[in-house]
Symmetry: C2
Subunit: 371 residues, 2 copies
Amino acid sequence: MVKAKRSEVPKAGFDLSATREIVLNKLKQLGQRIVEQLVMKELPEIKLPARTTSNIVYDADLRQYVLGPKLVTRTARNVKHLRPLSQLLWMALFSKQLVEKKKTSTLRDAFYNAIGFGIDFEDQNESDNVVTELESLLGVIREDFNIYPEERSSVFGPLVVQYNVPGYEGSRLDLTTIPDGAMIGPAMATARFIKCEAKQVFVVEKGAVYQRFLEEGVSKTFKAIIVHTAGQAPRATRRFIRRLNQELKLPVYIFTDADPWGVHIANVLIYGSALAAHVKELTTPDAYWTGLWATDITKYKLPAMRFNEEDTRRIAELEKDPRYAVDPWKREISYFKKLQRKAELEALSRYSLEYIVTNYLPEKLEEVKKG
Amino acid sequence: MVKAKRSEVPKAGFDLSATREIVLNKLKQLGQRIVEQLVMKELPEIKLPARTTSNIVYDADLRQYVLGPKLVTRTARNVKHLRPLSQLLWMALFSKQLVEKKKTSTLRDAFYNAIGFGIDFEDQNESDNVVTELESLLGVIREDFNIYPEERSSVFGPLVVQYNVPGYEGSRLDLTTIPDGAMIGPAMATARFIKCEAKQVFVVEKGAVYQRFLEEGVSKTFKAIIVHTAGQAPRATRRFIRRLNQELKLPVYIFTDADPWGVHIANVLIYGSALAAHVKELTTPDAYWTGLWATDITKYKLPAMRFNEEDTRRIAELEKDPRYAVDPWKREISYFKKLQRKAELEALSRYSLEYIVTNYLPEKLEEVKKG
């Protein structure tokens, strides 16, 4: 455990109370706009960014997908719009109650709550879509109006956080005191970073590698915060990683399996997903995908499995994606195509359990930094 | 947060050092037996419990599946046995190193490590099977020789644990101090229970319900430890729940979705799985399946989805299983067959987010206690 004096973190950074205030104001403005229209005896309408494929464009400067300028209108003037307009306004009401009551919820809870309220949703997909609409209308991510994913990933390392959720206001946690790592739930996701002695962040896809890093004392020897995504990173974790990078100015290194899914887990952490083109708080464009690369399979002589049809199809898809147009993505995708094989991070255990920490990790960090 | 003085927990209970000692002795005895046979110029052989279907029997007293008296022999005398015998002995070696070095590993790591060692495994299935063989030979669960599942569930409530893993020997954690809940990894799974103010344990399948229980202060108002299984409970969590029941004498109440998979999650927690017939440390026979029942769908007028073919097939399977021959299982399976519908725990949100805590939970506890 890190015992030395920790360096203070700058006072700026994520502030739950301020975020709450901003979101409540946006929601109130939305409500006021509707009320004003009604008072003026106008049929209420709302304009919001179109999320159609043609309006999702890749922004090379921002290095993520963003929404174009196209807007859509939801107006009570059109009888076909009445349903989606009511759904959107109900979701805004539900979100306002969550933020005011300082309670969190999930997409599924929102759906069932709507049903109980008599709001007509065909299925959860339809209600999920309205949550996304509300995000793009307000310009904030849904975690800011307290709708969280159910999945949890976890974190360990020389960082002290200060909670701000009800019952824990001001209480602090030193992340090195929890030997299994601390979960990234709503409390961790909204905590302030108070003291940090880390020099870098390692993000790993696999639980076995996370556990190995913890047991080998990587957080101490490499002065690193270690994040376990547990597969595709939940959105709250994507923002958490972004905060580590932006608020603490820590470089972020990502380790995934060497297969089309692992590659994409890293890519989404860095550049974001096309589905989240309407928000900008979930990406870490300066993070490095550090491994496991396709070329590592050959270089480290790893036990590898042959691609199945799905893998081949997926790699062909990624090749056409603008987020994969630069190295290391481009080079590795092309090597995958040639190799037609994939390997898991745990394959490095063929040398020894510790090899990934004693050899692979320092070698790859060196390689990526040389760029 | 619970601030009152906590009651002391009896000194007995899980002891990591003692377990380590026992497992190391068993492994040494295994090695000695082989060496002695070699010294006597005999071809080494091992007898172990047969895990064939015909030798897996339901024990109504123990209320779980157990292995019958049939044994199988692995002997170097038979050239066909050489491979599985070597695999088993290598796995024993690997496990001994883990326990001695106080490191944990996973099934997948074990497989790749074996490959690097030149041990011939067709695929991970084959090596997983050898781990199970080692469990049944030693009569301990694989977590006791430090092979852990990758999945993590979590826990929150008025309990103080004392860690015993390297670097944390003697350090304590009050589980109410982590607002997102603490993960049940190797450190938590092997921690000693030091102080407990809880009167009962609530086990929930769904993350949304776990979060709801935490935010509504259920651990305080119901004096409860709350465990989130995140679907089918990982084995380390199954043992953890058993320990809460047996060491702390706390009643355990289980809440799952009302569908064939939810029912089985509860059933496996209580009676164990047929696949784990060779071990007895993973069940909690006195736990209660408290909901969501098929009959709750009607009673609480919940939004429910029609069964698909897979659901219907699965319910028919469960009906034939001896673990489902008593109520509430029998009654609920029969009601599922009649209803042909399923519902999620979150469906209770149709009344309000808080309804599950303010109404459903106390009503169901009352109902289950009346029996």
